[in-house]
């Protein structure tokens, strides 16, 4: 049984067809890396899965439930699928702890004490238990991104979407965030991540999706995709980034 089923998904911005029929099935516990050139539609795909963009054709279902663009279905979907962004997007007016507590209390109506306990646990989990009372602007980029991960985890999603979550970080901060993601992967979290970290994709991911011009151009196990790229586009892409 697939956890996330993406079937013939098309997305246009005006005349610009950005996704031209995407098919991907993700099994529970899979860690999928999405790679591809800038503009190939990687972010758009993740945003569609989270309902931040409406799809024009095709269907997306998560844990058996269709993604429909009305408020109720969207909310149900977003409780199942968390998203982490390149720019962290922490709420700057709230402490790290409050960032993690807010949506639990507001969306799930979790009592404050419980939300606080959950926030502590999740911050511990990303190694930031001691930063509960720090504001985002008092944290390094890597720490902020880990708070963002804790914030998403606190909603207890069954899958996480990560869009280039280390791209805005200084090189020395990348590994601390990837370590957290690796940990999640080993605990069985389903992950879809757009990434430029090829080594990470090779070591941690169960499958790699190469997107090119709005299509899934190649898909397969990391060994196959990286060692034996079949299409000239992927060969060129890998040559470019190595």
């Amino acid at each position: 049984m697939s956890l996330i089923e993406i079937t013939e998904v098309k997305k246009r911005f005006g005349d610009n067809e950005v996704l031209k029929g995407i098919n991907i099935d993700v099994a529970p516990g899979e860690v999928i890396a999405i790679i591809g050139r800038s503009g190939s539609g990687k972010s758009t795909l993740l945003r569609c899965i989270n309902g931040l963009e409406n799809i024009d054709e095709g269907s997306i279902s998560v844990a058996g439930a269709q993604l429909l663009p009305d408020e109720l279905h969207l909310k149900a979907l977003r409780l199942k699928v968390g998203m982490i962004f390149q720019q962290f997007n922490l709420f700057p007016h709230l402490t790290a702890g409050r960032n993690v507590m807010l949506s639990q209390m507001v969306v799930k109506k979790t009592p404050k004490a419980e939300a606080e306990a959950m926030a502590k646990t999740m911050l511990e989990r990303v190694g930031l238990g001691h930063k509960f009372d720090a504001y985002p602007d008092q944290l390094s980029g890597g720490q902020q991104q880990r708070v963002a991960i804790a914030r998403a985890l606190a909603m207890q999603p069954i899958a996480l979407l990560c869009d280039e979550i280390t791209s805005a970080l200084d090189p020395e901060l990348v590994s601390e965030v990837l370590a957290v993601v690796k940990e999640l992967a080993s605990e069985g979290m389903t992950l879809l991540m757009v990434t430029h970290e090829m080594r990470f994709a090779r070591d941690v991911c169960s499958r790699v999706v190469f997107m090119h011009q709005g299509r899934v151009h190649e898909i397969g196990k990391p060994e196959e995709v990286f060692s034996n790229p079949k299409t000239p586009e992927l060969q060129q892409f890998l040559g470019m980034t190595h």
């Binding site: 962004f85 997007n89 709420f91 007016h93 807010l102 963002a148 998403a152 909603m155």
Partner: protein
């Protein structure tokens, strides 16, 4: 003929200045309430709300306040409603303030990064929850300095109401001048009083702006 001492002049002006302060407060607070209502209509997802507010703002920003005062005063009079000057002045200034405040605040809401909307959406929050917990707390903070700054415009705007016969500081200046024939002293004092009202406001707006830039934080 009685002699007017400077003190007499000042005392009369200060008494009238109470009306300037009161009218400013009413206009600013009333304008703030109407402006807040307009703001929600403007940034809401409806069709009619945003269009209406856009037109409203353009109308009030695109015509002189003086004309708005005349229309409120004489226009309502034409309809057979006998409007006292204070009412026309209050209504016109409230509507005028609302137009500017709603526009200032819209700018503040739109200044909040799109990522804040997206992150809160992805956490399952609905529009009202996002507004209440994520967007407005941040927007309010950046709105404070320009809002306080605008209050200076309101105080100065009240001077125009003297033309429709509302006796506030400027009108009192004219009356006292007619009695004393000392226009320079009188208007000098009038200007001084306006300055004493406005300067603290614009100064605090500057200080607030600097403070909020240094530590943009809630608690």
């Amino acid at each position: 003929m009685d002699e007017f001492t400077t003190w007499d002049i000042l005392r009369n002006l200060l008494l009238a200045a109470r009306w300037t302060v009161l009218l400013s407060l009413v206009s600013f607070i009333g304008g703030g309430l109407v402006g807040a209502a307009l703001l929600f209509a403007r940034i809401g997802s409806g069709r009619i709300g945003p269009t209406f507010v856009k037109a409203y703002v353009e109308l009030f920003q695109g015509t002189p306040l003086l004309m708005q005062l005349f229309l409120a005063f004489f226009g309502l009079g034409l309809l057979g409603v006998d409007v006292p000057a204070w009412l026309a002045a209050g209504v016109a200034l409230i509507l005028w303030s609302a137009a500017f405040l709603t526009e200032i605040w819209r700018g503040c809401v739109e200044a909040i990064a799109r990522g804040q909307w997206e992150a809160s959406s992805s956490l399952g929050m609905g529009y009202v929850q996002q507004m209440r917990h994520v967007i407005l707390p941040q927007a309010l903070r950046i709105a404070v300095p320009p809002t306080v700054g605008f209050s200076v415009q309101v105080v100065k705007g009240t001077a125009l109401t003297s033309i429709i016969g509302f006796v506030e500081l400027s009108k009192a200046g004219t009356v006292v001048t007619n009695a004393t024939f000392e226009p320079f002293t009188v208007y000098g004092l009038v200007a001084l009083i306006y300055f004493c009202l406005c300067w603290p406001l614009s100064k605090s707006s500057q200080i607030l702006e600097r403070k909020l830039n240094v530590a943009h934080r809630n608690h």
